[in-house]
């Protein structure tokens, strides 16, 4: 057990624990905040694994934008402040499928990688990531920019009531 292993274990426990609270909490808003903890622990895992840029992008995009967007949606749908009783379906089928997927994949990974030590990687700094993105993966990058643009336009059209009403009256 090296320092990196201890860090990976601790951050992994935090990520999985708060992830479990995200899917079991009966408070909508608390679920969102547990999601922040889980995503932050994942950013720490990325840092330990040497992916610096991914960690900072994770904090910027996920914690900074996605979770804020989710909390906005919680507010705009007038969610109750206290615990809600009608958030969940019966647990058994979902627990069976979820535990099957999670534990099955875990067993697969544990069998494939065992308790083998791998050398710590040289950190994937922004410079190396940039070389990789704009060297080998330029085309997917450009396709993603088109996808972001179309998602932006789609979200605007979906959320503008006057556009929907005009279409309905014609």
């Amino acid at each position: 057990m090296t320092v990196a292993d201890v860090l990976l274990l601790a951050l992994g426990v935090v990520a999985v624990g708060s992830g479990a609270l995200v899917v079991t909490s009966s408070h909508l808003v608390r679920s969102g905040f547990y999601l922040v903890v889980s995503l932050g622990a994942l950013a720490g895992l990325y840092l330990v694994l040497g992916a610096e840029l991914v960690a900072w992008v994770q904090i910027l995009v996920y914690i900074g934008a996605v979770v804020v967007l989710l909390l906005f949606a919680v507010m705009l749908t007038r969610a109750p402040i206290g615990p809600s009783a009608d958030l969940d379906r019966p647990a058994l089928p979902a627990a069976l499928v979820g535990a099957g997927a999670g534990l099955g994949l875990s067993a697969l990974f544990a069998d494939a990688f065992r308790w083998v030590r791998y050398p710590a990687p040289d950190p994937a700094t922004a410079e190396r990531m940039g070389e990789e993105i704009f060297g080998a993966w330029v085309l997917p990058f450009e396709v993603l920019s088109i996808l972001l643009l179309s998602a932006l336009v789609g979200a605007i059209i979906l959320s503008r009531p006057d556009l929907a009403a005009r279409e309905g009256s014609s």
């Binding site: 992994g12 694994l49 991914v54 969940d88 379906r89 499928v97 999670g102 990688f113 060297g135």
Partner: protein
């Protein structure tokens, strides 16, 4: 470092996400569980970067696969993780727009109560 730890963490997070998607009735909580699944995949991609790259150290990759890195495998898993983060941002933007529009029409965010055979004209009047 032992890469089996982050791999197992990713697998468990994915299982939790599957559980959340199937269990939750509130559409926003379903989206949160989807975020958990996407993050599990990201973690596995970044970890694969460590294990696969160290297994491939010294092996010359094909020149078309990494022309910028002079024969050394670059952080491809990290690049894929960035792409997945971008996809997740687009997904949550459009998803929340749909959820809010549905809430405006029906005053509900419960996925069980979405009637797929509802009359379209009635929906427009209600919206």
């Amino acid at each position: 470092m032992h890469v089996v730890i982050p791999y197992v963490v990713g697998a468990l997070l994915f299982g939790l996400g599957v559980y959340g998607v199937l269990r939750r009735r509130n559409a926003i909580l379903v989206l949160m569980a989807v975020e958990l699944m996407l993050n599990a995949v990201n973690l596995i991609l970044v970890t694969a970067d460590v294990s696969v790259r160290s297994a491939l150290s010294g092996v010359l990759v094909e020149s078309w696969a990494a022309p910028a890195a002079q024969g050394v495998a670059g952080p491809t898993g990290g690049v894929f993780a960035l792409f997945v983060i971008v996809l997740a941002a687009a997904e949550v933007g459009v998803g929340l727009a749909i959820v809010l529009q549905f809430y405006r029409m029906r005053q509900a965010v419960i996925t069980d109560e979405v009637r797929l055979d509802a009359d379209a004209d009635e929906e427009r009047v209600a919206g």
